[in-house]
Amino acid sequence: MGIGFYIDTVGFYALLIILVALTALTDPKKRPSWIWAIPIALALVLIGTIVSSFRGETSAFDWRPWLAILALGLGVAVAMRRPKSQKNTVHYIDLVRGISIILIGSGITLTLLGTIGWTQYSLAVSSFDLRLIAVIGLFIGVWSATTGLMFWLRTNEHLSGSDDPSFGQRLGQWLVLAIIVILGLIAVVKPDSATAPLILMMVLAVEWAALTALATRQENLIWAQAKHIGFIGAAIVMLGYVQASILLLAIGSLVVAGAIHFVRREGSFCQINRREFYENEHKEPIDFNHQPRD
């Protein structure tokens, strides 16, 4: 029995808890203590996964579960050490920074999982769809991680972004994207000689992500990040397809739906919307009628 089955059986209960938390959260009268339902659900699934792997094979010394617990603990500990801003003074920039860290982490995870998927499925030449998914996952991972890094550097003022790109810049971006798509297709169709196109594709993906991330206006960063969250959701859907996990399919679709909601309806945050949006963050007020003078 595959491990996807175990994930799903535990995951359905977890999904139930999450749905209850979701409905409680959209109701403002319910208490926000429901927030703890999400990590509890997550922990439930993790424990189920690890326990099921313990009882799976009874080899004498299998240290994969211990490695998993170690990696999990380290990741949580590092995230907890993130410098917290003083209470009640969260700014737009803090939020962008936090989501950038999430984008970097998820992007690296997707890249690594895509690499693993590629090395496992490129041997079976018949599985066209799995190879396609691995390549798309690699691209989304590299793109999201680079974008997150760029945004993080921008919010820490190591880099300065520019305004909307000119026509030539936009043309160049589309050209790079076209080359990326062609290289990815070559890698999918001809898996025997795919190493060079794949590496080239990833390098170009870094460049493309950096170009687009730098040409995003400062006040639009959060929308660009929401779009990337949507892409990550799509990647989770594809992962669910590969691992035959219904839970991941459902979660990924929910993530895509949430990102669409946020982008389409221009949502805002309680953390920041009761004070000035750009306090010491934006030098000049935005002037949409500005005409360049000679």
């Binding site: 929910l254 949430g258 946020f262 309680c270």
Partner: protein
């Protein structure tokens, strides 16, 4: 996995998310995004499953790194969501009546420059 079943599930979950479950007033949309980010923390389950079924040592190490980053981003997402919900509580306590219906995206007006 059967692509038809996968397609059905994706369609159902998308409909659920788009139609009702994640719908909120406009100023709570951000919370929906953070909630969804916390849900994306389930990426950690995928990497964990890869780690636990890894066949070779190289894959095991790559999957362990992936698990580390996934756990980190999941925790960060949850902390952001918690911060958001606590911020609403504080804001409601601080100003119970006013500013309930302020426009969400308040940008600085050009004539509000001080000292000029």
């Amino acid at each position: 996995m059967d692509p038809t079943i996968a397609g059905y599930i994706v369609l159902l979950a998308l409909t659920l998310g788009l139609s009702g479950a994640l719908r909120a007033e406009r100023e709570h949309c951000g919370r929906g995004l953070l909630l969804v980010i916390a849900l994306a923390g389930f990426l950690v389950v995928a990497s964990l499953a890869t780690l636990l079924t890894a066949g070779s040592g190289t894959i095991m190490i790559i999957a362990a790194i992936a698990t580390f980053f996934a756990a980190q981003s999941a925790t960060t997402g949850f902390l952001l969501l918690r911060q958001e919900i606590h911020a609403e509580q504080h804001a409601d306590q601080a100003m119970p009546e006013t500013n309930q219906n302020t426009p969400a995206r308040t940008t600085q007006q050009p004539n509000q420059k001080q000292g000029e």
